[in-house]
Every structure is written in C-alpha cells, then in structure tokens.
C-alpha cells in the first residue's frame, strides 16, 4: 500500500510539474465547471481552477506527501494497522488538493472541513490521553474556521453564486464583502494558528511524526495562508488586514520567544513553524501575496525535512523527544545530521539555501517599503530569534555531549527514511532559486542603504552567538530560569494563551453543567418524570388492587352501587 501510493503521488507530482511549467510559461489558466444543480437563483457548480499557483502548490503537496508516505513505511512499520494510516494520509492529500484547485466556496468548504476532520483523526492516531486532548484542541480550533466559512457561504449567496473569484473586482466596497472578508480572515487565522487560536499547533505534536511532517508543517497550516492569497484582491485595503498584520507579527514574535524555552524537539519545530506562519501571514497582510506564496513553498520543503529528521532522531533515542537527552549526534549519524543541518540553516536564511531567497526577500521588502517602526523591529527581532533557537537546537542536539545512556546504538542506515529525506534535501537546496526564477518573471526593485541591507546578517550573527551561549549548560551552571520565574513562565507557555483558550473557555461551562446535571438530571427530574411517576403509578396500581382482590359479593354489590351513582350523576 505504501509503495503504491508513493508511486502514484510521485507520478502525480511529475504531471503537476510539467503542467505548471507549461502554464506559467504560456500564462495559461484553465477553468473547468460542472453545474450540479441549479435551483431558483443559486447554482451549485463544481469548478476546478488550474492556474500556475494551484498547480505549483499541488506539485509541492504531492511531493511532500509521497515522500512522507514512503518515510512512514519505515517509521510506522511496527504499526498493525498501517493501511488505515496510509488511507487517512491519502484522504488528507485529497482534501488538500480539493482545497487548492477550487475557486468555489462550496468545494473549499469540503476541502477545509475534510482537512480539519482528517487532521483530527491523524492527531488522535496514538490513542493515549495526551493525543485525545491534543486532537480535541485541534479539531475544535479548526471548527471555528469551518463555521466562519459556512457563514461566508451564507453571505456570498447575496451575489448569486459561490464562485468568489469573479466578484472581487466588482464588489470590493460592498458591505457584504466587508463581512465576508472579516470572516475569511478569522477562518484563515484559525487554520494557520495565529494569535488567538495558536494553542493547537504545539499541542498537535502528539501526532505521529510523518503526520507532523505532512500536516503541520506544510499543508494544513498553509491552507489558511493559501485561502488569504486567493482572496487577496478583496482584502487589500481592508482594515482587518491591518489587524491581521498586528496579530501575525505578534504570533511570529511570541513563538520565536517560546521556542527558546522549550526542551521538546517536536515542540521547538512546531513553534518554529508557527513563527514562519506568522511571517507568511504578515508579509501577506502587507500586500505581497506572491512573496507569501514563495515563502510558503520553500518553508514547506525544509520544514517537512526537519520534521522527518526529528523523526529519525526520536526513533534512535528510543522514543525520547527531550533535547536534553541528546547531544553529539553529528558524530554518529552523519547523513541525518546533514539533512538536519541543511534544513535548519535554510530556516535561518543562510545565503543561497532555499530559505534565504524567500526570507531575505521578505525582509528586504519590509525595509524598502515604509512601514511602522514596530513592524520593522518585530520582523528583525523575530528573524534573530529564529536563528537563536535554531542554533540552540543544533548545539543541544548535535554538538554538546551525549546525555542519554552509557551504551547506545545510533542507527543511521535506514535507507527508506534516508532516501525520502534526500529527496526533500535536494528540493530544499534548490527550490529557493528554482521557484524564484519561475514565479518572479522580473525581480523586485529594492534599493537599500548598506547597513540596512546587512541588518539581516547582523541579527543572525547576534542570534547565533546567543544560541551558542545559552546552550552551554553544564552540571554547575546556574539555572537562571528560576530567578525570573514569572517572566520565564509567561514567555515559555506561549504568553498563557493556551490556558485562555482551553481552561478559560471551558471551565465555567463545565462547572455549571455539573451543577445542572447533579441537580436536575439526577435530581428533580427523577422525581418529576423518572422514578417519581413510576412510583405514583405503582401506588395507584397497588391501591386499585386492594379493590380488585375482594369477595365476589362485594363485586355484585359494587355493580349496584355504580348503577345508582351513574344514574344520579347523569340524571342531573
């Protein structure tokens, strides 16, 4: 099953690639439409939009998913029901493809809901308590986005069809479009885990690592960004876009800080995903959708690779995800550490890897256009923080001493996992330049003073030095975390927002419902409808039985009595 789906998806990727090249070279875009039903004034159509953006995204999605399925043949080989897992992943890919190719809100809803549902099924795949909680958090946060899209469907009925792409130019200043844009932004924020809804992404790391590599690095979380890219013409001058800018910058900043306090390998990578998502959203809300798309794609490559390396390391460490137990792995697992290092450096934006092209372009656009001081500071600060936690991670995992046990066996020769990582390695080296040559037919005009241009390098060097210094922990080093306990826990626990969206939202209602349950369901309603009525009827029946079990002459006498009663009663 693994091999079949791998070959199918790989072949699909190649088809998409060839079509993408053809379409972008000739500037084509194809629109299929099939009218399913038409009633009164609305018509439900199933439409497929194939332009270069959707083909490119489909190519990347199918590449990553084929590689992940191949990887999971070895990663999940002790799983009894591997077929179930593969089928879930394939359904996920199908929903994602449906989302990508649809210019129509109903099929977007199908893809969107499918994504949310299947990611829930995949997060709870290991059926333990932590996975259940994580799955519930994931599903319910995504549900908010689903509700928003449902309401958008309802509001868009004002325009006569659900093909939103036709209405952008004409209806931009309409009140209805205002509401629609608000809801779309909230939907994208829930899916891409921006600030109010960001608690599900670190929690969803309870999923198996291939799922994290596919879902939480490149496809599910970028669905929100993709939706906003599609809706970009509508949203450009809106006020909410500026709100989105604010929130996404804060997301970027907050997750960068929190990743520095984390010791769980997958959580660090999740928070780095969150940070990059904030980056994508912020550059999108500044008005550059194509740069956001570019960063989305390159980020997908190296983040999926990073997750897969993390999976290999976790397998080797006997399923321990804590980086304090790891160290010195670069000596023992050269190939995996090669992939890990390249993807990490690509994340930092080291020159001429793939991440450099997109990240550097973003930062230069931010510097070149005149934006807010806060925007500027937080962008560069977050870039520095990215380098900070990346280098801290590399120091902890690769360079410092090995901390697990005296006797160890670090096995690097699992060529199924390694081959799948090499494919992504190849792509994460080259996709930056390759995509920039394809997508940007002419380069952006950027003219910056010298120090501003080098500001990226300055913050990167600063971050790397700090990362090096922070990770020099030994037996006798002072744990300064405890000295600033309040501040540290605030920064570490994602500014307490997960508590707000889980415990804060549900505690009152759960408490109240317990009171209701104890008092009404197991209390008064038992007396007034459950056991109480039964007791009443039983007493009536017992009372009746006293009359029934009598001598026969009493019966005969009662007949006469009844005659007289009825006679008198009805006579009057």
């Amino acid at each position: 099953m693994c091999f079949n789906s791998f070959f199918f998806l790989f072949f699909f990727m190649l088809i998409n690639f060839f079509f993408f090249v053809y379409f972008i070279m000739n500037g084509l875009s194809v629109f299929f439409e099939w009218e399913i039903i038409s009633f009164n004034s609305m018509s439900i159509v199933m439409s497929i939009l194939l332009d270069w953006m959707s083909l490119l995204f489909m190519m990347f999605v199918s590449l990553i998913s084929s590689v992940v399925i191949f990887y999971s043949k070895s990663y999940m080989n002790s799983e009894l029901n591997l077929n179930r897992f593969i089928i879930l992943v394939l359904m996920f890919v199908f929903s994602m493809v449906l989302l990508i190719i649809s210019p129509n809100l109903i099929s977007i809803l199908l893809g969107w809901d499918g994504l949310g549902l299947i990611s829930y099924c995949l997060v709870i795949y290991y059926q333990n308590l932590k996975s259940y909680n994580a799955g519930m958090l994931t599903a319910l946060s995504n549900r908010i986005g689903d509700v928003m899209i449902l309401m958008v469907i309802c509001w868009v009925m004002n325009y006569g069809s659900w093909n939103y792409i036709f209405y952008f130019d004409f209806m931009k200043n309409d009140y209805v479009m205002f509401i629609i844009s608000f809801m779309i932004i909230i939907a994208a924020m829930t899916k891409s885990a921006q600030i109010p809804f960001s608690s599900w992404l670190p929690a969803a790391m309870a999923a198996p690592t291939p799922v994290s590599a596919l879902v939480h690095s490149s496809t599910l979380v970028t669905a929100g960004v993709y939706l906003l890219i599609r809706f970009n013409y509508l949203l450009i001058d809106m006020f909410f876009f500026k709100v989105l800018l604010f929130l996404s910058i804060l997301t970027m900043f907050m997750s960068g800080i929190s990743a520095n306090y984390e010791f769980d390998l997958k959580k660090i990578i999740a928070l780095s995903t969150l940070s990059q998502l904030g980056l994508m959203m912020s550059i999108l809300s500044l008005g550059f959708p194509d740069i956001a798309f570019f960063h989305l794609l390159t980020h997908a490559m190296f983040k999926a690779l990073l997750f897969m390396c993390a999976g290999v390391i976790i397998h080797m460490m006997n399923d321990i995800q804590d980086i304090r137990y790891m160290g010195g792995l670069s000596l023992y697992i050269p190939l995996t550490s090669l992939c890990l290092n390249i993807s990490n450096l690509s994340l930092c934006g080291i020159p001429f890897l793939s991440g450099f092209y997109s990240k550097d372009l973003i930062l230069e656009m931010v510097s070149f256009n005149s934006f807010n001081l806060m925007v500027f500071i937080l962008f560069y600060l977050s870039t520095g923080l990215t380098v900070f936690y990346t280098f801290r991670l590399i120091m902890y995992v690769m360079i410092n001493d090995f901390n697990l046990m005296m006797i160890y066996n670090l096995y690097d020769e699992d060529y199924i996992m390694l081959n799948s990582m090499f494919v992504l390695l190849f792509m994460s080296l080259l996709s930056g330049s390759f995509l920039s040559w394809f997508i940007f037919s002419y380069p952006y005009m950027i003219y910056l003073p010298f120090n501003l241009k080098l500001m990226v390098i300055y913050v990167s060097i600063l971050g790397s030095i700090l990362g090096f210094m922070v990770s020099n922990m030994g037996i006798y080093s002072l744990n300064k975390l405890l000295l600033s306990y309040n501040l540290s826990s605030f920064l570490c626990l994602m500014w307490f927002m997960p508590n707000l969206s889980t415990y804060g939202l549900s505690y009152i209602y759960l408490n109240f419902s317990q009171i209701l349950f104890k008092n009404i369901d197991m209390g008064w309603s038992e007396i007034y409808s459950g056991k109480g009525i039964f007791n009443i009827l039983k007493n009536y029946s017992v009372f009746y039985n006293i009359y029934q079990m009598n001598n026969f002459k009493i019966y005969l006498f009662s007949f006469i009595l009844w005659f007289m009663i009825l006679f008198i009663f009805f006579f009057i």
Binding site: L537, V542, N545, I554, L566
Partner: protein, 336 residues
C-alpha cells in the same frame, strides 16, 4: 354434563356463534335479549369442567354476573317499551341499558369479575371470552348509546386497564387488563361507526389470537415461566413482535387501528381524550416491555435445564410474526 368431549364442545360452540348472530340481527330489543341469554347459556358448558373446582367456581361467577346484566337489560327494555313509549330522547334509560351492556362486556366500572374469571379459564376459553363474547354487546351498544356517558366509561376503561395491569404477574390477568383497555378504544370506535369498530375488532382479535396461541402452545400461564425456560430465538422474536404489536407500536400491525382511531378522535375534536388514550397506551406498553425485555437483550436470563422444544406447528408462529410485521405495509396495497 357427564363427559366433556369434543362433540359437546362443538355443539355448544355452534350455539354460541348462532346466538350472537341472533342477537345482532334482530329488529326488536327482545330478540337482542334472547340472543344474549342463549349466549350465556351456551358459554357456561364450554367453560365448566366438573373435575376442576376452579373452573366450576369460575363458571358460577360468570353465570351470576352475566345473568345480573341480562336481567337488568331486560328490565330496562321493558321500561323503555311500557313507560316511556319507545321515545329515543331519554337519557336515563340509555344510561341504564348501556350500563348493563357494559357489564356484559366486562368494561369498567363493572369489570371486577373479568380478571377473576379470566384467571380461572384455560387459554382457548379466554380467547373466546375476550373476543367473541364482546361482539353482541358492542353491536347492541351501537344501537342506542349515550355519548357523554360512554366517554366517561371510556376514560374509566383506559385508566383501569392500564393501572390495574401494572401489578400483575399472571399472564392471563395481564391480558385481561389489556383487554379492558382495548375495550375503551373499541367503545370509542363504536361511537364513530360500526365499520371502524369492525376493523379494530378484527385486528385486535387477530393479535389476541396470535398471543394466546403462542401461550397455549408453550403452556405458559405466569410471567416467571417466561424466564425459566430456554426458548429458542424465533419464539422469543414472535413474543416480542406480538407484544409490541398489541401495544400499538409502529410498524407492527397493532399500530394501524389505534392510528385510525386517533385520527377520528382528532377530527371530532376530542383533544383531552386523545391525551388520555395515548398516556394509558404508554403505561400498557411499559408493562408489555417489562415482560419481554430481558429475553431479547444480548445477555438474557436463561436457565439451561428446561429446554423448550420446537413443536410441529411452529409454522404458525412464523406466519403470525410475518403477518404482524408486514400487515401495515401490505394493507396499503389492499386499498389501492
């Protein structure tokens, strides 16, 4: 009578049928009374078995109540003829005549003899008592009834039929109270039209026949006998279906007559009466389900030392289950 063989029974059965026909097809009240008397006289030999003290006592009780009712009926007829010159506008006489007919049937408030007697009869005699004996009083009721009085009687029937059965463990008494409850439905249907009553009565008697034949074949008289034998699946299924059908649960056969009667209730705007019909129906279904629920759960109570064998005439059971399930749907084809 000295012997109690089948030829005697056939003879008296024939006279029983004939007496009902006399009663309902006469064009004078005297003829009706004659039919009722012959009915009583021919039923007594059917139920009395001189070897068994209980059945002698039962037949005696039956004789006493029915003759009291017949005397009453005759008296009211005579008063109606002689004193009131056969006018149709008098309330009192209709009340008295209806009361005596209700006593004949075993309807509340004159029903106290009914569970007692049913307890003392065998299953087939019970079947006769519960179905055939109700025909002539019902039809006579339809000739001259008092609407307000009958509605009051209906309510009493329903309530007593449902409440009385809650505390019973004997299957015969249970069916007796259910019969009293169904009498309420039937009296109402008489008030609407005789055709409707015929429909309800036929379906009711078919259901009662299926149940009673099942109990007769298994020789079961008490509720605990349902639990201590090892019934095979089809018998349990049949029991389940028939009880639920008797209770009036769709999609079984017993739902149809109740549905139609509720339809007529609502057309004629008897809203509160509808409420009472439905609520008492629920109580009845409760004690039916109480009988059978443990036998059709996955973990049912089963004693393994008594094994109920499949007898030769189990095709009847399968047929009756089939009829109970499919009648409602098939009936739509009849009226096409």
């Amino acid at each position: 009578m000295l012997t109690n063989n089948n030829s005697n029974k056939m003879f008296f059965l024939f006279i029983l049928f004939f007496s009902t026909l006399i009663s309902i097809s006469s064009n004078s009240w005297f003829g009706c009374w004659i039919g009722l008397e012959i009915n009583l006289l021919s039923f007594i030999p059917l139920i009395s078995n001189s070897k068994n003290l209980l059945s002698v006592e039962t037949s005696l009780k039956y004789f006493l109540t029915q003759s009291l009712a017949s005397i009453n009926f005759l008296f009211m007829i005579l008063i109606k003829f002689s004193l009131l010159k056969n006018f149709n506008m008098n309330n009192i006489i209709s009340i008295m005549m209806n009361s005596s007919l209700l006593m004949k049937m075993g309807s509340a408030p004159f029903h106290f003899w009914f569970p007692n007697i049913v307890e003392g009869l065998s299953w087939m005699n019970n079947f006769m008592l519960m179905t055939w004996q109700k025909i002539s009083p019902m039809i006579l009721l339809s000739y001259y009834f008092n609407k307000n009085f009958l509605i009051f009687m209906i309510i009493m029937n329903l309530i007593i039929g449902s409440l009385g059965g809650l505390n019973q463990t004997s299957l015969r008494k249970l069916l007796a109270f259910s019969s009293i409850n169904n009498l309420g439905w039937m009296i109402f249907s008489i008030m609407i039209s005789e055709n409707l009553w015929l429909f309800y009565f036929l379906i009711y008697s078919m259901m009662i026949f299926m149940m009673i034949s099942l109990f007769f074949l298994m020789n079961m008289y008490f509720m605990n006998q349902l639990f201590i034998n090892n019934m095979n699946f089809f018998i349990k299924l049949n029991l389940l279906i028939n009880f639920l059908s008797l209770g009036g649960l769709p999609p079984f056969m017993g739902f149809m007559p109740k549905w139609i009667i509720i339809n007529f209730l609502l057309i004629n705007k008897f809203y509160f009466l509808t409420f009472i019909f439905m609520m008492t129906s629920l109580i009845i279904i409760y004690y039916y389900i109480r009988i059978i629920y443990s036998s059709f759960m996955f973990n049912y109570f089963k004693m393994k030392w008594v094994n109920l064998l499949m007898k030769n005439n189990m095709s009847l059971i399968n047929l009756s289950s089939f009829i109970s399930i499919s009648s409602m749907i098939l009936s739509t084809f009849i009226f096409m």
